[in-house]
Symmetry: C2
DNA sequence: ACATCATGCTTGTTATAACAAACAACAAAG
DNA sequence: CTTTGTTGTTTGTTATAACAAGCATGATGT
């Protein structure tokens, strides 16, 4: 079973890892769910070996947890851990935004402005799924422009840890904002080369969203898919 | 019927991972050396599968690097990556020190003072290897007292990445300080509850040591053993 | 002598089968 | 009804073989 696709030379287990990461960031896996090798292998159309490699990689990164029998389980992040993640995220992403403001370029401003407009349009059309994609792209475009790969890598790791629960309530949060979002101010601060303001706006953006998330926690500190959610069909 | 003979059956790949880590810490692998699956498999008396799993785990943690052909290579940290690590370390460890100052306790001050005195004594006696242990303990005592396990974990990972080359030249750096170290000021700032000063002192401590390390780099940006040592000629 | 290609070896990747431990369901014994 | 033992299934683990890409070596042609 060989394919003629000679374009994709990346190892199969690395592609599988990317697909699992996407599924996590998109919230397609339930928190607490145990991912079995054979089910994922059938899902991706491979054998268990690449899936095993991908899962090992993600567990080592802390993106997935090692449950009993060394089974990979989707982290069910509770309030305590969420507060810690937010703490470090505010520190690293704020620093990245500050660095991005000092390394600004016209191309960066143009790209961010385009994504900003796309986000506004998607909110108006209530296409929250694709909004989340663009929103994530918006943030990481800033972090990438900081020019520090290690910093980018660590921020991505933190997003992956909160990924499963982020998609639970963020759509409600986004439509409840009604325009008072920090994204516009972030772009303006970067364009003006004002690092401290960019950092402050990023931190406010993170912490306000986190407070909303924490307000959705149950008595056990677990964020559950919820009551405020007017779920979309798509 | 339960038998007592089932003491501990850790997975084979996990044991192999421990052996590789030991070999790394013992310096039995040269920086830049590529570790082949089959050679390690023969060395440990297993097949390639457990070795592959162990290496994948270590690469994901940043302990090993992924070279060409996805081969595992012992990290030869160059100046570029070192600068990035220092950048993030200053950010995270500075933040941890600031947090520690706000959560100070008499027990913490007493513990830090004791380690400080121990460090001074070890320097006078030129016992640099044990000094490095106490020094590391001193730092991580502060970071642990910040009360944020995730922050602690990420800082520890950054120390692991620079671990091998740190022991190359730090002893020379320590004896060259001749008393102008920041550790005393850090303890004083934490004791006074002065978070910003504690953060600034930690950052200065990190960056000054980093500058010394970077001054030891060769023309390729690699930190080499004995670059500033009078003993070894090469 | 130098460039080019063939050949064989090395190495990471993937699929597959066999295996042991854990788990669930159910029957039998108290 | 509860407990215990059995059986079948599921699941992660490990070994092995086949495979493709890279790399070194050396023969060949100009």
């Amino acid at each position: 079973m060989k394919t003629f696709e000679k374009i994709e030379t990346a190892p199969l287990w690395n592609r599988v890892r990317g697909q699992i990461k996407d599924a996590l960031l998109a919230g397609r896996f339930e928190p607490g769910q145990t991912l079995t090798l054979r089910s994922l292998a059938e899902m991706f159309g491979t054998s268990v070996t690449p899936v095993r490699d991908a899962i090992n990689h993600l567990v080592a990164q802390g993106v997935l947890e090692a449950g009993p029998r060394n089974a990979a389980v989707v982290p069910d992040v509770a309030s305590d851990l969420l507060k810690e993640i937010i703490f470090v995220r505010a520190e690293l992403e704020g620093r990245a935004a500050r660095e991005a403001a000092t390394r600004k370029s016209p191309e960066l401003i143009a790209a961010l402005s385009a994504k900003l407009e796309s986000m506004r349009s998607l909110i108006r059309q209530r296409q929250l799924d694709t909004y989340l994609d663009v929103h994530r792209d918006f943030h990481f475009t800033i972090y990438e422009s900081a020019g520090i790969p290690l910093l980018y890598e660590m921020i991505e790791n933190l997003w992956l840890r909160t990924g499963p629960i982020l998609t639970y309530v963020i759509p409600d949060y986004v439509v409840s904002l009604r325009g008072s979002d920090h994204h516009q101010k972030i772009v303006a601060a970067i364009e003006a080369g004002d690092g401290p303001t960019a950092e402050a706006e990023i931190v406010s953006d993170i912490e306000e969203a986190a407070n909303y998330l924490l307000s959705c926690a149950d008595e056990y500190g677990r964020i559950r898919r919820g009551q405020k959610l007017a779920h979309h069909a798509g």
